[in-house]
Each structure stands twice: as structure tokens, then as C-alpha cells.
């Protein structure tokens, strides 16, 4: 039932990558991607591979997934339960400590514990549970259809833009809206607009306000304007957001400081504590997530070129379009294992605790097939991302450069 590309169709010339209006995702294919065939155009970084090799690569990656699925069991369940326990203890401990934040150590400890708790809840637990990585346990408390996170963007709306649009169309310009989140220019392939001059400032502002940025992004304002999202659907999402935002603000910025003020006169400090915890989480999540697809070396694709994509080509796109972060086990946990972005994009529904053991195998396959495996420590990848965002504030070619190119021609 898979739909393969029409092999006989004339290959369209790879035109400039202009973001076309985005039709609703996935109107043409359903089911498992074909294993054989080829896309209209394979990305340059994988152009050296034959169709046969791509098919084998797909099989080998499928085998890695199957191997994990066969072992998945009680130990994995215990891992996620332990994470949830640690997270809940940090959250409740952090909040309780902030009630007495008039005392400096309580302020520092409470803020730190709450920030780490929020990071674990959003990243190692929330993001991964909402991907359905733990659905196999059939625990309604740890399930993609029920989980709600301590993050102002409602989980259901995020699942749509993230799981569906972003993971299906990873780094396809005009399809994957995570490429710049509609407000940033992160790829040379995105045409330059005047507003991109603000690129570094927008990003600087987005980092500490990340949860609000994502909440706004998930509403898909632009899709309503373009007519791809109905007003009713938008209204429904907007109401869900309002409801969530009110309870989040009430909890962090009103109820807790009020309780702190009554209990120990710690109202102001408690408010600073919750604001800081949210800001720390926001900056951390923003940094980690931006290192997933935007450092130098991560590739972008056009919708035309991926037409007819096979299973192997889909994997190649995930690997070339993603970038990893290297670090210790604790670091991986604190990033929600998004430090294993490449593995996560190849296998978005494998339990996150398994990425660390899958990573060397994926890397070995990249080496074997001559594909770039983009990885590095956080400071390096983050610097690369920021540099790029600054660079792309300006057009790819400045007027005088264009003039020089024309002269040499």
C-alpha cells in the first residue's frame, strides 16, 4: 500500500528553495515507506551511494531498531519510573524550599531543584513520553495520549507541530516549520528577508522566553492566515493555550509566592525563584534544541528532491539533518537525550535511555557508508549555531559580493 514515486516522471530541475505555502502534512503517503527506489534527488552528502547501498543502510538501521524492541522490557520501565520519581521529588522539594527562600541557601537550593525538575519533566520525561516512547508499557500515567508537562505550550498542540510536522519532514524547507520556527533564518536555503536583520536579537529574546515562543509557534498563526488551518481549530488551540497559561502563571508566579509570603515573608524571593527556574529551563532547552538541527554541517532539503524517498533515504535525511552533543551520561539525561538527536530522529519512538547504546552503532554505519555524523561538545555546537544565526541575519551574498561575482563572470 506504500506509494512509490513515479520513476518515469521527468526529473524537475532542482529550483531555488523557496518556501512554498505549506499544505497539510502527509496528504499522499500512508504506511511504510518503500525499501527500493530512489528520491528525485539524493542530497549531495549522500550522492555517492547507490540505490542498493541506501537500501542496505535502511535494513541495517531497521535491524538496530528491531534489536532494541526485542530487549525492551522491565529495566526500561524501571528507568522511566525512576526518572519520574527523581523529577517529582525535585519539583516538590524545590517548591517547598522556595517557600522559605528569604534565607539565601533556601533560595539557591529551591531555585536549582525546581529548574532541574522542570528540565527533567520537559525533556527526559515529557518530550519522550509525548513521542510515545513509553506507550508500549500501557501505563496511562506515562502515555503519549495523556501526559501534560510543566511547560506553557499545551502538549497536544506541540505533538502536532513536533511529532507530525517536524519529525516527518525533518529539515525540509517549507515543510518542517521547525526550520527557524517562522521567526528565525537558520539556513542559507531560506530566502533572506529584511526582518532577518534581527536574527540574533530575536534569538537572544527567544532563549529565556522559550516556552512562550513554542506555545505561540504551536498555535500556527501563519497557517490560519494562509488558510491551511481552520478558524475553529485555531480557536480551540488558543483556548487550550489560554487555559494552560493561566494555570501555569497562577501556580508559579502567584500561588507559590503568595504561600511563601504568608509562611515566611518570602514572597518576592519565591517569585524570583520561580521566574529564574523557568528562565534556566528555557535557556537550557533552547540551547540544546537549537543544537539539534542548526549547527554548521546540518543539511537542509527541498520538498521536490525528497519525492519518492525510500526508507533508507528517509534515514539518511534524518542523519544528515541532525546533530549530536557529546558528553557524560548525566549530561545526556539533562538534555532529555536530545544530545542523541541523530538517533532520536532515526528512531523517534525508541525509549530515550536506549539511544546511548544505539549511538555507536549508528555512528559506525555513518562511517561505513561515508556519511557525516555531526557531533561535538555543547560549547562548540552552540557557538556554531549562534555564529550561523548571526551570519544569516545578512543575505547569503551581499550586494558588493554579487557585483564582484558578476564582474569575474
Amino acid at each position: 500500500m506504500t506509494i512509490t514515486a513515479d520513476q518515469t516522471a521527468a526529473k524537475p530541475a532542482p529550483g531555488p528553495l523557496t518556501p512554498a505555502p505549506i499544505p497539510p502534512a502527509g496528504t499522499k503517503r500512508t504506511g511504510v515507506l518503500p525499501t527500493q527506489g530512489r528520491p528525485v534527488e539524493r542530497p549531495a552528502a549522500a550522492a555517492h551511494l547507490t540505490d542498493q547501498q541506501v537500501e542496505e543502510l535502511g535494513d541495517e538501521l531497521d535491524a538496530i531498531r528491531d534489536e532494541v524492541l526485542a530487549q525492551r522490557g522491565a529495566q526500561d520501565a524501571a528507568y522511566v519510573r525512576r526518572m519520574i520519581k527523581i523529577c517529582r521529588a525535585l519539583e516538590v522539594g524545590g517548591r517547598a524550599t522556595l517557600l522559605f527562600s528569604r534565607f539565601k541557601p533556601a533560595f539557591v537550593l529551591g531555585t536549582g531543584a525546581l529548574a532541574v525538575g522542570k528540565i527533567l519533566d520537559n525533556m527526559e520525561i515529557g518530550h519522550n513520553v509525548l513521542h510515545g516512547q513509553w506507550d508500549w508499557m500501557r501505563d496511562p500515567d506515562i502515555h503519549s495520549t495523556t501526559y501534560e508537562w510543566d511547560f506553557v505550550a499545551p502538549a497536544r498542540g506541540w505533538q502536532h507541530t513536533h511529532n507530525d510536522l517536524h519529525h516527518t519532514w525533518t529539515n525540509v524547507i517549507g515543510k518542517d516549520r521547525d526550520v527557524g520556527y517562522n521567526i528565525l533564518r537558520v539556513s542559507e536555503d531560506q530566502p533572506w528577508k529584511l526582518r532577518d536583520l534581527g536574527n540574533p536579537f530575536v534569538n537572544l529574546l527567544l532563549a529565556p522566553l522559550f516556552e512562550w515562543g513554542i506555545a505561540s509557534y504551536d498555535l500556527e498563526w501563519d497557517m490560519v492566515a494562509a488558510g491551511f488551518k481552520s478558524k475553529e481549530a485555531f480557536k480551540k488551540d488558543l483556548n487550550a493555550f489560554k487555559k494552560k497559561a493561566i494555570t501555569q502563571v497562577l501556580k508559579d508566579y502567584i500561588a507559590l509566592p503568595l504561600a511563601g509570603a504568608v509562611l515566611s515573608g518570602s514572597g518576592r524571593r519565591a517569585l524570583i525563584g520561580t521566574l529564574s527556574a523557568n528562565a534556566i529551563r528555557n535557556v537550557w532547552a533552547h540551547s540544546v534544541i537549537f543544537c539539534g538541527h542548526f549547527p554548521d554541517g546540518a543539511e537542509f532539503f527541498s520538498e521536490e528532491m525528497i519525492d519518492g524517498e525510500t526508507r533508507g533515504d528517509w534515514y539518511i535525511r534524518q542523519m544528515l539533518g541532525s546533530a549530536n552533543l557529546s558528553g557524560s551520561r548525566i549530561f545526556h539525561t539533562m538534555t532529555g537525550n536530545l544530545s542523541h538527536q541523530i538517533e532520536h530522529h532515526c528512531f523517534p519512538d525508541l525509549p530515550s535511555n536506549r539511544y546511548i547504546e544505539v549511538a555507536p552503532k549508528v555512528r559506525a554505519l555513518c562511517d561505513k557508508y561515508g556519511l557525516n555524523y555531526n557531533t561535538g561538545p555543547l560549547p562548540k555546537q552552540l557557538a556554531s549555531t549562534w555564529k550561523k544565526i548571526c551570519r544569516l541575519a545578512l543575505p547569503n551574498e551581499l550586494p558588493w559580493q554579487r557585483g564582484r561575482a558578476a564582474a569575474t563572470a
Partner: protein, 365 residues
């Protein structure tokens, strides 16, 4: 009689205070329910899933055991003869089965499980005191009559469990009880609750006990009334309950029909609807809510089949990544087109975009 059979009522004021406290706490914990934090200290706390802690495990026969648990506060006390779904985690995956509750009404729930099948075997062999099990509220109409009546209980094998709850509830508490229990089992060692039943029968004239060991005496025949006339001569004037293997239930039902007394017989049936795997797959898909049926081959995703039939189905990536299309499988067997794995658990949420029918399938959409 009704009062004692329906268990103790819960003190409502206590519940009111508790729910108000939880609501106040949720202002500080939203969007996570306060119970998720309470569970750090109380393993039974849960907002979504009723839980119970195992308080005793008593071996009954070489292959069966009675497991008693203390349920969380949202448990509704069971009526004698009812059953409940019990969930247990095997290899990290929650598995649910239905079991009759063998404890008397008003007591902490207990199930008596015989080690047949994966889940029951796991429960009998691996359950320890202190383990957490998951519970669904008790249900079922196989319960005692509202007014006093002479009763006949016909049970076989583990079919005695709901009847044991009835006997434990009724016999010691009612002087006017008049119960004949005819219980069939393979032999003495395989028979459940033998000692306790004999003690009850010795102590209370209201219980008359007949043990039938089928290895020696053969099965009770319901082909005609001969066996019953001998075992319980006044069976026609008694309200009868029967619980056991399907053939026994069908045969008893037929006999009562022929005798013209179908209304005096109450039957407890455990449907073990097995979904056989169809080689090559395919089959009829029934979309329950939309009331539509389509015949499909073994490679057509359920999502596509539904959409082509005009069913409104949730969908997202259409390639097995995003889980927007999760739909409850009501019954039947489906195959994951990526792995070839099949699934047949009732109520399991399946990804319709990468699943095909492997036999007749009922979906909740």
C-alpha cells in the same frame, strides 16, 4: 439482606474533605495531578489508575493461589459474585485480565487465580506481599438475589470463585440461608476451597455441599435431568447459578430452557475471545462508531481503509512516527506492517497508519 451484601458505605464527608484538599493542592502542582507527588510516599495514590497493594498470597492448590489486596481509596466495594479487571506488569508491559472476586462482600478484594495462560501463571508464581497491582472497579450481574431464596450453585474448576464469594457472604451471616453447592473438579488436590467449604457446611446447616470428582465419577450430565434429580432433587424450585467451562454453561442453559425455567438460571460466562491469526492477513474491518464495514487485504493500512470508507479517522505523519492516529482496538488482531508483529489486546491503542488487519478487526472510530 440487601444491606449486608453490598458492603459498607464509604464515609462521604471524609471523601469531600479529601477531594477539596486535592483540588487546592493541584493549584501548586498543575498540570500534574497532586496524586503523582503523593505517590512518592503512598504507592496507592493515583489520579488515573486505581491501584491495590497485595496483602497476602495464599496457595490454594499446587497450581492456584488467592491474592488479597488493599485497594486505593477510589475502589467501590464489590457485591458477592462480581468480577474485576486486574492489571499486572510483565516485562514492563501492563497486562489486564478479569477475575472473579472470591472474598465476601465488604471484605478487601481477593482473586483466586489458577496458573493457566501467561498472566495468570505470572500472578500465581510471582506475586509477593507488598506488590502493587492495578484495578478496575468491580462489575457483573452474577450476584445474589435481592430477597431470600433457596439456591443451587453449580460450579466446575475455577468457576467456583464467584460462588465462593457468595457463600462466604451469605452462609455465615444468614440463618435462613439455604444453599446447595454442587462443585465439580478433577480430583481432591485440584479442588479449590475444599477445607473451608467442609467447615462451613459442618457449622451451618444452611449449606449443603456436594463434591464431584470427575476423574472417578465423570462429569455431571445435563443431557437429561437424571444427574441433577439425584444430586439435588428439588433443583427446579431453586434459583440456580452456574459458573464453569463453556460446554457446561451451554448444556445447563439448554436443560433449564427445556424444563421451562430459563429465568431461574443465572450464568457467569468468561469470554476468552481469541483472535486467531489469519495467514496472509486481511479481513473485515468494522468501524464501530461510524457503523461501517470494509473488507481489506493484509497490506492495506487500517487508516487508509477507513478513510476510503469515509470514516473520520485521526491521522498525522502517516508513517508510524507521530502517534496522532492512535485508535483503540476493540477486538481482533492487527499486524504492524513495519515489524510483522501482531497485536490482539482488547483496548490497546494501535497506530492505524502502519497497521493492517490480520483477521476480522473492530476499531473504536
Amino acid at each position: 439482606m440487601v444491606e449486608i451484601l453490598h458492603g459498607k458505605p464509604i464515609t462521604l464527608s471524609c471523601m469531600g474533605v479529601k477531594s477539596a484538599a486535592l483540588r487546592a493542592m493541584s493549584v501548586f502542582t498543575t498540570p500534574i495531578p497532586p496524586e503523582e507527588y503523593l505517590r512518592l510516599v503512598n504507592p496507592l495514590a493515583s489520579s488515573r489508575q486505581l491501584r491495590g497493594v497485595v496483602t497476602s498470597v495464599t496457595p490454594e492448590t499446587p497450581t492456584s493461589a488467592t491474592i488479597t489486596f488493599r485497594p486505593g481509596s477510589r475502589w467501590q466495594p464489590h457485591q458477592a459474585g462480581q468480577w474485576a479487571r486486574v492489571g499486572v506488569e510483565i516485562d514492563g508491559v501492563r497486562q489486564w485480565r478479569s477475575y472473579s472476586l472470591s472474598a465476601p462482600a465488604g471484605a478487601d478484594p481477593a482473586v483466586t487465580v489458577t496458573a493457566i495462560g501467561r498472566v495468570s501463571t505470572y500472578l500465581v508464581r510471582n506475586t509477593k506481599v507488598g506488590d502493587i497491582v492495578f484495578l478496575a472497579p468491580p462489575q457483573g450481574d452474577f450476584v445474589l438475589p435481592a430477597g431470600p431464596r433457596p439456591l443451587l450453585m453449580l460450579t466446575a474448576g475455577s468457576g467456583i470463585t464467584p460462588v465462593m464469594s457468595m457463600i462466604r457472604t451469605l452462609v455465615p451471616r444468614r440463618k435462613d440461608a439455604d444453599v446447595v453447592l454442587v462443585h465439580s473438579s478433577r480430583d481432591r488436590t485440584a479442588s479449590l476451597f475444599t477445607d473451608e467449604l467442609q467447615e462451613l457446611a459442618a457449622e451451618h446447616p444452611g449449606l449443603h455441599l456436594v463434591h464431584r470428582y470427575t476423574t472417578d465419577e465423570g462429569r455431571i450430565s445435563f443431557a437429561d435431568s437424571g444427574d441433577l434429580d439425584r444430586l439435588c432433587p428439588d433443583w427446579r424450585s431453586r434459583k440456580a447459578y452456574v459458573c464453569g467451562p463453556t460446554e457446561m454453561l451451554d448444556a445447563a442453559h439448554a436443560l433449564w430452557e427445556r424444563t421451562g425455567l430459563p429465568d431461574t438460571l443465572t450464568v457467569e460466562r468468561f469470554n476468552t475471545a481469541l483472535a486467531p491469526e489469519v495467514p496472509g492477513g486481511g479481513g473485515q474491518i468494522t468501524f464501530e462508531k461510524s457503523d461501517k464495514q470494509v473488507e481489506v487485504d493484509g497490506s492495506t493500512p487500517l487508516l487508509l481503509a477507513g478513510e476510503e470508507a469515509g470514516v473520520i479517522m485521526p491521522s498525522g505523519c502517516r508513517m508510524g512516527i507521530c502517534r496522532t492516529c492512535l485508535t483503540p482496538l476493540l477486538s481482533g488482531r492487527i499486524r504492524d506492517l513495519r515489524t510483522g508483529e501482531t497485536h490482539d489486546d482488547e483496548g490497546e491503542l494501535i497506530q492505524t497508519c502502519i497497521s493492517a488487519a490480520a483477521g476480522p478487526v473492530h476499531l473504536d472510530c
